[in-house]
C-alpha cells in the first residue's frame, strides 16, 4: 500500500458535486461529495449501476463537463476544459464514419498540430501496437465491433496521454470479443508497452473490474457517491477461477446489495418518500422467471448472486434491479450477495396465472404506494378516471423527469398485469376496468 503513495498523484477530485437544475428549484443531485485520487501506474475502476453518475464523473475528469461544485486538479493545476493529458475511449466507439482508420487515429495528433510525417509514423505505431495493421485504409463501417474499439483505443493511445479514460469500453461487444480486448490491453499494460501512466475506467461489470483494476470505487445511486473503495491485490494475469478472485467478486456483490444508509425507506418510509420510490423497469415475465428459477433445484429458495448472474447470463446491471424490485414486492430478500425467496415468493412461484395475478395485486397495493395511490384515486372518482399527469408531476418533485417516466411506465405495466387498472396511452389517463359501467354511473 505504501508503494502507491510513492507514485506521483496525477489527478485529484475533491468534494465534487453535480446537480441538474430543475424548474421548481429542487436540484437533482447526480453526484454528491465525490473524492477521487489517481496516481501513476494504477488502473482504477468506477463500478456502479447505470444512473450512479460514474460516467458523469468521468466526463468531469476529462474536462468535458464542469462540476456544479468541487475541485478537479490535474498535476496540481485546476482543470477548466479538455486538456492534453487525457484521452478517452467511448462505449459507442465514437469513430468518425467519414474518416479511415488511420485518419481517425491521427485526429488527436492533427489537432495538436503535429507535422504530417510524424503523425503518420506515430499513427502507424499505434495501429500496429493495438493489432490493427492492414486495416489502415478501411472505413469504420467495414469493421466489426471489436476492431472498431481497437481503433478507439489506438486513437486515444497515439496522443500519448498520461491518463487513459475508458467509458464502459467493452460493454457494447460480445463476450468473447470483449475478453480478447481486455486481455490484450492488460498484456500491453503489464509489459509497459502503453504510452500512458494510468487508466481510469467506468464499468458495471464486477468481474471486469476485478480482472483489470488495481483499485475499485463502488458507486451508489441516487445521488451518486462512492460507497466503498477496495484494492485488488492480485498480480496480472488474473485467473477468474482463482478462489481469492471469486471471493472478492462475492464481496463486491455483497457491498452492492447492502442496504445503504438513507435507503432504509423501504422498511420505514415517510409517505412522500415511499410514494416516490423509483421503480426499475423490470417486467413481470422476468420476475416470474426468476422466482420460478429460485424455487426450483438447485437453488431451492436461495442463490448466490454471482453464480446466479453467471448461470442466467445476466449482468449486475440487470440482476440487481431485478432483485431489488422483488425485495420491494416482498417476494425475495437480498442479503450479503445472496438472494432468498420469501414464503410469498414461493407461493407465487408455485401458483397458476390467476392466483399469481391476485398475489401480485395484493402485494402491489401493500408495498408500492404509487400504485396503491393510483388505485385509490380511481376508486374515489365517480367516473373512475384519472389523468396520469398528476402522478408524473408528483414523482418529478423528487426525481428527474426520465426516472419519473420510467417509474410510471413500470407502474403501468405492473398495474396492468395485476389487473388493478387500465391505462389509455392516447389520453394519458388511468381507468378502472369495465368503463361501460363507469359511463353509466355518472
Amino acid at each position: 500500500m505504501d508503494t502507491a503513495s510513492v507514485h506521483q498523484t496525477l489527478l485529484q477530485v475533491d468534494n465534487c458535486r453535480q446537480a441538474y437544475h430543475k424548474d421548481n428549484n429542487t436540484d437533482l443531485l447526480v453526484l454528491d461529495n465525490v473524492q477521487l485520487t489517481l496516481r501513476e501506474s494504477e488502473i482504477v475502476a468506477l463500478l456502479g449501476r447505470s444512473g450512479s453518475g460514474k460516467s458523469t464523473l468521468m466526463r468531469i475528469v476529462a474536462g468535458l463537463l464542469r462540476p456544479t461544485a468541487g475541485d478537479v486538479r490535474y498535476r496540481g493545476k485546476p482543470v477548466t476544459g479538455p486538456f492534453d493529458g487525457v484521452a478517452m475511449v467511448f462505449q459507442s466507439f465514437a469513430l468518425l464514419p467519414w474518416l479511415t482508420v488511420s485518419e481517425n487515429v491521427e485526429l488527436g495528433l492533427e489537432a495538436q498540430g503535429v507535422p504530417k510525417a510524424e503523425r503518420e509514423k506515430r499513427a502507424e505505431e499505434a495501429i500496429d501496437l493495438i493489432g490493427l495493421g492492414g486495416f489502415e485504409t478501411a472505413y469504420p463501417k467495414e469493421l466489426s465491433g471489436g476492431m472498431r474499439q481497437r481503433v478507439g483505443l489506438a486513437r486515444a493511445l497515439v496522443v500519448h496521454p498520461d491518463l487513459l479514460l475508458m467509458d464502459e469500453p467493452f460493454s457494447a461487444l460480445d463476450v468473447l470479443t470483449a475478453e480478447t480486448l481486455r486481455t490484450d490491453l492488460i498484456d500491453l499494460w503489464t509489459e509497459g508497452k502503453l504510452p500512458i501512466k494510468a487508466i481510469l475506467m467506468v464499468t458495471h461489470n464486477i468481474e471486469e473490474a476485478v480482472l483489470m483494476a488495481d483499485r475499485i470505487l463502488v458507486f451508489q445511486s441516487n445521488p451518486g457517491r462512492v460507497a466503498h473503495e477496495l484494492r485488488v491485490p492480485f498480480a496480472h494475469p488474473r485467473n477468474r477461477l482463482d478462489p481469492a478472485f471469486r471471493k472478492l467478486v462475492d464481496e463486491i456483490y455483497a457491498v452492492m446489495t447492502r442496504r445503504q444508509p438513507g435507503t432504509e425507506r423501504v422498511t420505514a418510509p415517510t409517505p412522500a418518500a415511499a410514494f416516490a420510490t423509483p421503480l426499475a423497469s423490470v417486467g413481470t415475465n422476468l420476475m416470474s422467471g426468476l422466482l420460478e428459477t429460485l424455487a426450483a433445484p438447485p437453488y431451492e429458495g436461495k442463490a448466490d448472486l454471482p453464480a446466479l448472474a453467471e448461470s442466467l447470463q445476466l449482468e449486475v446491471d440487470e440482476l440487481l434491479p431485478l432483485g431489488e424490485m422483488l425485495q420491494l414486492l416482498r417476494f425475495a430478500e437480498l442479503e450479503e450477495g445472496d438472494i432468498k425467496l420469501t414464503p410469498l415468493g414461493g407461493e407465487f412461484a408455485h401458483s397458476d396465472l390467476d392466483h399469481r395475478k391476485k398475489l401480485f395485486a395484493t402485494t402491489l397495493r401493500a408495498s408500492v404506494p404509487l400504485i396503491a395511490s393510483i388505485r385509490r384515486v380511481l376508486d374515489e372518482r365517480p367516473n373512475h378516471r384519472a389523468s396520469a399527469v398528476r402522478f408524473r408531476d408528483e414523482l418529478e418533485d423528487s426525481m428527474s423527469p426520465e426516472y419519473a417516466e420510467a417509474t410510471l411506465r413500470t407502474a403501468v405495466a405492473w398495474g396492468r398485469y395485476a389487473e388493478l387498472f387500465v391505462y389509455d396511452e392516447e389520453a394519458d389517463q388511468f381507468e378502472l376496468e369495465e368503463p361501460e359501467e363507469a359511463e353509466a354511473a355518472d
Partner: protein, 592 residues
C-alpha cells in the same frame, strides 16, 4: 449500444430526408437509360399533344367574367378561405394520385419501369411555365364558366404537391419490412386490406412529412395561378394570390403587407390545426419500437383525444374507415399464384415493350412535327444559352446561400433551445413566394438604375434558401453527442473541426436541402427573372424570363421549348451532380 448508436442517427436522418427529391435520388441509377428516354418523350409528347388543342380555345375565353379583386383588407379573410380551400382540394387530389400512381408503380414490375422515370421527369419540369397553358386548357373544358379557372388553379397547385408525395409512398412500399409483408400474407389479408392495414400506415410518417412540404411549396403556385395574364387578357380568381397580383399592379404597399399577414395567419392555422396533430398522431406508425424523443402532444390532439364529443366523432369516423378498409375487396394471396407470378410471362413483357415503344415513337413524331412547324435550331440555341445564364445564377446563389447559412444553421442546430424556435420559422419562410418581395427589388433597381441581371438574382433563392437552413439545422441537431465529445476530448478546433467533424456530419442533410432548393430555384426563375411593380417592369436575361415572356405573348411553341430545355438542365443537374453527391454522402457518413 455501440452498434445501436449509429442506427438511430440514420433513422432520424431518414425521417428528415423524406423529400421526393431524395427519394428520386436513392433509386440508385445515375445515367439516363432507355426508360428515362421513354419517360421524357411521353411527358413532352403529352404536353405537345395537348398544346395543339389550346390555340383554338383562346377565342372563346375572351368574354369570361372574373371577379374584381378588392384591395380592402376586410375582404382578405374571404380570399384567404378561398385560397385555402383550393390548396386542400389540390392536396386531396395529390393524395388520390399518390395512392393510385405510387401503388401501381410499386406493385407492377412493368409499370414501375416507366412510371418512376416519368415521375422523376415530372418532378423536374417547371410546371410554372405551363401555367397559362394549363389554365387555358381547363377553361376550354368549361367555356364561359369560372369552374375551368378554379380547376386550373387547383391543377397548378396539384402539380407542385403530388410528385414528392407519390415518391414517398412508393419508397415506403418498396422498403416494407419482409416480416410484416409475410405476416399479412400468412393471415391471408386481401390486397385491399393489406393496403390499408399495413402499407398505408407504414408509409404514413413519410407521407405526412411530404404533405407538409407540399403545402409550403404550393403557396408559390397559388400566387402564380390565381391571376393569369395571356396577351391582353387577365383572369383573376378571388384569393390571396390575385390579391397580391392586384396590389403589385396598383403599387399598393399596404396591400402587400396585408397579404403577407393573411398568409402567415393561414399557414399558422393549418400548421396548428392539422399538421402538428397529424405528425404527432403518425408517430405511432413508426416501425421502430424504441420510443423516440417525444415532444408534448399538440393541443389540438389533446382536445380531440380528451373531450368526449370529439372522441365520439373520432370513433365514428374511425369505425367507418376501419369498416371500409377492412372489406375483403381484392384478392387474397394464393400460394400457386404467388409462385407462378414470380417468373412473369415473356409474352407480357414483349407486349408491354411494344406498347411503350409505340407511345415513345408517337411522342417523337408529335414533338418533331410541332416544334419544326414554328421553330428552328437557332431557337434551341438561344434557349440553351439563356439556360446557361440561369444555371450560373442558380449555382452562384446556391453557393452564396450555402456559405452564408451553413455556419449559422450549424450554430443554431447545436443549441436545442434555439433549434426548436428557428426550425419552424425557417419552414414558415420557405412558404413565402418571391412575388411578395418584388416591390423592394423593383423600386431599388429602378431608383438606383441597377443592373437587373445581377440585382434580380437574389429573388431566385429568396424562398428556396430556407430548405438549406432547416435541413442543416436538423443535421446539426442530430449530430451524435459522442462524436462531439471526441472532438472536444482531442481538442479538435477551428477549421479542422469544420472540415473533419461537422461538415461531413451534416453533409447528407445539406445535400437533401440543396436538392430541394436547387429544383425550387429553377422553378422560381420563371417568376423571379421578370419582376414588375405597377408599370415598372425589370427583366434579367435567362431562361426563366424567356419562358415568362413567351407565356405573356401566348407563344406556346416557345413555352414548350423553354420548359423542355429547363427540364433538361434540371434532369442533367440531378443526375450528374446531386445524385452522385447524395450517394457519396450516404455511403461515407453512416456507419450502417
Amino acid at each position: 449500444m455501440g452498434r445501436g448508436l449509429s442506427i438511430p442517427w440514420v433513422q432520424r436522418m431518414s425521417d428528415t430526408t423524406h423529400t421526393g427529391a431524395t427519394h428520386g435520388l436513392t433509386l440508385g441509377r445515375r445515367l439516363p437509360n432507355i426508360w428515362d428516354l421513354a419517360a421524357i418523350l411521353t411527358v413532352f409528347g403529352l404536353i405537345v399533344g395537348a398544346a395543339h388543342v389550346v390555340p383554338g380555345a383562346f377565342v372563346k375565353l375572351n368574354g369570361t367574367a372574373t371577379a374584381e379583386i378588392q384591395l380592402d383588407p376586410s375582404y382578405l379573410p374571404y380570399y384567404a378561405a378561398r385560397t385555402t380551400l383550393r390548396m386542400f382540394a389540390a392536396l386531396a387530389a395529390s393524395l388520390f394520385f399518390t395512392f393510385t400512381y405510387a401503388t401501381l408503380a410499386a406493385k407492377s414490375r412493368r409499370a414501375e419501369l416507366v412510371m418512376i422515370p416519368i415521375l422523376d421527369v415530372l418532378q423536374s419540369v417547371p410546371i410554372l411555365g405551363f401555367l397559362t397553358f394549363t389554365t387555358v386548357f381547363f377553361m376550354s373544358l368549361f367555356p364561359g364558366s369560372i369552374a375551368g379557372l378554379e380547376l386550373a388553379a387547383i391543377f397548378a397547385i396539384f402539380t407542385s404537391q403530388a410528385w414528392n408525395m407519390a415518391f414517398s409512398l412508393y419508397q415506403s412500399l418498396k422498403t416494407m419490412p419482409t416480416d410484416l409483408d409475410e405476416a399479412a400474407r400468412s393471415f391471408r389479408l386481401t390486397s385491399w386490406q393489406k393496403f390499408w392495414r399495413l402499407e398505408v400506415p407504414f408509409a404514413m410518417p413519410g407521407l405526412i412529412w411530404n404533405m407538409m412540404l407540399s403545402m409550403s411549396g404550393g403557396w408559390f403556385f397559388v400566387v402564380a395561378s390565381e391571376a393569369i395574364t395571356v396577351g391582353d387578357n387577365t383572369w383573376k380568381l378571388p384569393g390571396i394570390g390575385s390579391y397580391v397580383a392586384t396590389a403589385l399592379d396598383k403599387r399598393d404597399m399596404g396591400g402587400i403587407f396585408w397579404a403577407i399577414l393573411a398568409m402567415a395567419v393561414v399557414i399558422l392555422l393549418y400548421d396548428q390545426l392539422l399538421f402538428r396533430p397529424l405528425t404527432a398522431w403518425s408517430s405511432k406508425f413508426r416501425v421502430e419500437l424504441t420510443a423516440g424523443v417525444e415532444g408534448e402532444d399538440p393541443w389540438v390532439l389533446k382536445v380531440m383525444r380528451r373531450t368526449r364529443l370529439m372522441r365520439a366523432v373520432g370513433d365514428g369516423v374511425g369505425g367507418a374507415f376501419s369498416y371500409v378498409t377492412g372489406l375483403r375487396l381484392g384478392r387474397a394471396p394464393r400460394l400457386g399464384r404467388a409462385w407462378a407470378g414470380r417468373g412473369g410471362s415473356r409474352l407480357g413483357d414483349v407486349v408491354f415493350m411494344v406498347i411503350v415503344a409505340a407511345v415513345a415513337a408517337y411522342a417523337i413524331w408529335q414533338i418533331v412535327a410541332y416544334v419544326t412547324e414554328t421553330l428552328g435550331w437557332s431557337d434551341l440555341g438561344q434557349a440553351a444559352l439563356l439556360g446557361v445564364y440561369t444555371m450560373i445564377r442558380v449555382l452562384l446563389l446556391m453557393a452564396l446561400a450555402t456559405v452564408f447559412w451553413v455556419p449559422i444553421s450549424v450554430w443554431v442546430g447545436l443549441r436545442p433551445a434555439w433549434a426548436r424556435r428557428v426550425q419552424p420559422a425557417a419552414q414558415f419562410m420557405a412558404a413565402f413566394p418571391a412575388n411578395l418581395f418584388f416591390p423592394i427589388f423593383v423600386i431599388a433597381i429602378v431608383t438606383y438604375k441597377l443592373n437587373p441581371d445581377i440585382w434580380l438574382t437574389p429573388l431566385i433563392v429568396l424562398g428556396t434558401q430556407w430548405y438549406i437552413v432547416f435541413n442543416v439545422i436538423a443535421g446539426a441537431a442530430a449530430f451524435p453527442t459522442d462524436l462531439r465529445e471526441v472532438a472536444a476530448n482531442f481538442r479538435v478546433g477551428g477549421w479542422m473541426w469544420w472540415r473533419k467533424v461537422m461538415l461531413p456530419g451534416i453533409f447528407p442533410y445539406f445535400v437533401t436541402g440543396a436538392i430541394t432548393a436547387s429544383g425550387g430555384s429553377w422553378n422560381a426563375s420563371i417568376v423571379a427573372e421578370v419582376a414588375s411593380w405597377g408599370n415598372d417592369k425589370v427583366e434579367a436575361h435567362g431562361l426563366g424570363a424567356y419562358i415568362a415572356d413567351a407565356t405573356a405573348n401566348g407563344d406556346m411553341a416557345k413555352v414548350v421549348l423553354g420548359v423542355a430545355v429547363m427540364s433538361a438542365f434540371v434532369l442533367v443537374f440531378n443526375r450528374a451532380i446531386w445524385r452522385p453527391m447524395y450517394a457519396y454522402a450516404v455511403r461515407r457518413t453512416t456507419l450502417g
